[in-house]
């Protein structure tokens, strides 16, 4: 049997040939449009980047994130799929085998579960299973989180299911620049990435430069402080910054860390902050038990227990299914609950 006609993933991955730039200079964009710009630039740079998802073609996605891309790149690269999440992920696996670099859109957080097996059993494990022979350069975009008054299954925070799965990288963005830069990094990475988009922040505007910026695995201090370390990610970053401002009025200096990467966590940055402040609060929308907050607190406690002045605190969604819209304000951590958490670690 002749092997000469066989193609590997590597030989089919086209090296970046930049023809056009989606963003020439710094531009003010919404978070949603900065994702569009990142997708567009990635598709211009690499003809093997293809998009798969429900309603991503003519409609441009239910959040219009892929608006205009079908017209520009055609139906072989912006693929409106039948309504089957397992198949969206499973066919992306096959496309990756063939040398493609698929970007899957899961329409809403709560719709990801039919695709869970393909993500956990195939996407996450194929590189390990094949001892590095088969790469899975798949990015899975997931609009997540609540606060938009939606029906059930449209407001969930399922990230911990994926941070618990070895083989995946999990990131979450909080601002337009990160949304652009981190998505471009995710798409160009040879490993699978779950990219969680804070849907209630889609309309936040900011200046976006066409740069890859800081590594997506690096946590960033978004507000410096000396008394309390407040760790968060995604949609709660703006809330945590507001909480830090409010705490400052009461004489408490809060350092806010945007994790950006949930797997792996940049523990070095969190640890350095906690060694300085001695107090740790972690906040996320996801339910508390088995969540990322518990994992961070355990890891930081292992690393620098002697530096802690108080028991760390979690300010999270309750251990409940996502509640009806009229009750979601009682579930989602807000500025006041974050401040109550700060008070607890301050012993006030």
């Amino acid at each position: 049997m002749s092997m000469t006609t066989l193609k590997t993933q590597d030989s089919m991955t086209t090296s970046a040939v930049k023809t056009t730039t989606a963003l020439a200079t710094p531009t003010t964009l919404t978070l949603a449009k900065s994702i569009t710009a990142a997708l567009r630039q990635s598709m211009l740079d690499d003809p093997k980047v293809v998009l798969l998802g429900e309603d991503i073609g003519a409609l441009g996605g239910v959040f219009r994130v892929t608006d205009g891309l079908l017209a520009e790149f055609g139906a072989n690269r912006v693929i409106d799929t039948p309504l089957a999440e397992s198949a969206i992920i499973g066919t992306a696996v096959g496309l990756a085998y063939r040398g493609y670099r698929p970007v899957c859109e899961i329409q809403f957080d709560g719709f990801i579960y039919p695709g869970f097996d393909q993500i956990v059993s195939q996407v996450a494990k194929l590189h390990y299973r094949t001892q590095g022979a088969v790469k899975m350069p798949i990015t899975i975009r997931v609009p997540f989180g609540g606060g938009i008054g939606a029906a059930e299954h449209h407001s969930e925070s399922p990230e911990a299911y994926f941070t618990h799965t070895s083989g995946l990288r999990v990131i979450s963005v909080s601002n337009p620049q990160d949304a652009y830069s981190m998505l471009r990094q995710a798409i160009s990475l040879d490993d699978p990435v779950l990219y969680f988009e804070p849907k209630r922040r889609y309309h936040v505007k900011g200046e976006v430069s066409p740069v890859l910026g800081e590594s997506m695995e690096k946590a960033v201090i978004v507000a410096p402080g000396t008394d309390v370390t407040l760790v968060t990610y995604g949609p709660l970053v703006p809330t945590a910054r507001d909480a830090a401002l409010a705490a400052a009025d009461e004489g408490v200096s809060v350092e806010v860390i945007d994790l950006r990467s949930l797997a792996p966590v940049d523990y070095a940055t969190v640890e350095a902050s906690v060694r300085k402040t001695g107090r740790l609060v972690v906040t996320h929308e996801a339910v508390r038990s088995g969540g990322i907050g518990g994992e961070i607190i355990a890891s930081i406690t292992e690393r620098c227990f002697n530096y802690l002045e108080a028991a760390p605190v979690r300010v999270t969604g309750w251990d409940i299914p996502y509640p009806p819209a009229k009750l979601e304000s009682h579930h989602l951590p807000d500025l006041d609950r974050m401040l109550a958490g700060v008070d607890r670690v301050m012993g006030r």
Binding site: A87, T91, Y128
Partner: protein
Amino acid sequence: MVDYDPWVADVTGEQLAAMYEDMIVVRRIDTEATALQRQGELGLWPPLLGQEAAQIGSARSLRSDDFVFSSYRENAVAYCRGVDYTDILRVWRGSAQSGWNPFEIGMATPAIIIGAQTLHATGWAMGAKFDGSDSAAITYFGDGATSEGDVNEAMVFAASFQVPVIFFCQNNQWAISEPVALQAHRNIADRAPGFGIPSIRVDGNDVLAVMAATRIALDRARNGGGPTFIEAVTYRMGPHTTADDPTKYRETAELEAWKAKDPILRLQRLLDSMGLFTPELEAKTQAKADAVAAELRAGCIGMPDPAPLTVFDHVYSTPNATLDGQRAEYADYLASFDAADGSSS
């Protein structure tokens, strides 16, 4: 009614004899692997006993640039693709989770999750179509898998995008202990037309019939005609795996009836009728089978255990700080034993 004969009219006596050798050799691999499992050299083995014609008739129809996405029972397909014999055992000895590099033989690492690979084949075929290639994907699965959502989703996608993929269902009558009647109220092949996919129900124990059906499907795939579903009706003469006990759930009479339809006997009779089943062929084939078995046994027993710290290898293709920390932690732990007993590592 399709006339299948023209599709295999070119098959020579020599090629028939070669497929006879394939079937004898893979059955010998099965026997040897089962023995190795009983002797504690393999953790588990899934015999394909009785399904040789279905696997060899289809696999011998493929080109090297086609791609196979199989389940764990397609060891005869792997053999036809050119896998080293020892590599077939690697997974079952517990030395690795894949036996070969998929790109070297055009065959993905077999899926253990039932039906998952049908979506991978469909995605690969989407890529082949986008590339303007005339290569085809073929995915192997059993009757049990046809109840899985993934197989049905794969057929929806394959039909919608009209991609070059062959759904090759080996209906071997049993999904561990569950009879096919539990999975399908009608013939499995009848389902595909509902998805808009033409289907063929073929005698899976007739290697030439299987080859004809596969060639029809490949011809359609290569010429832009989209997917085809093949139901190869066959029988799992052995247990599901070496951990199974079929006497708990099926009658001996059923097995005896299927033994009379043994695919190797069928081809032997055809060769005999053509005057090609000679003592020389029999001796040559047996010698090859014995040599393969000996190589297989030696390769299995000689397979080294992987080094402890390789447990961390290839989780990611790029460095990962958390995992690197755990690797260092475990390396230190292992080294502490060397320090304690005074030996050097």
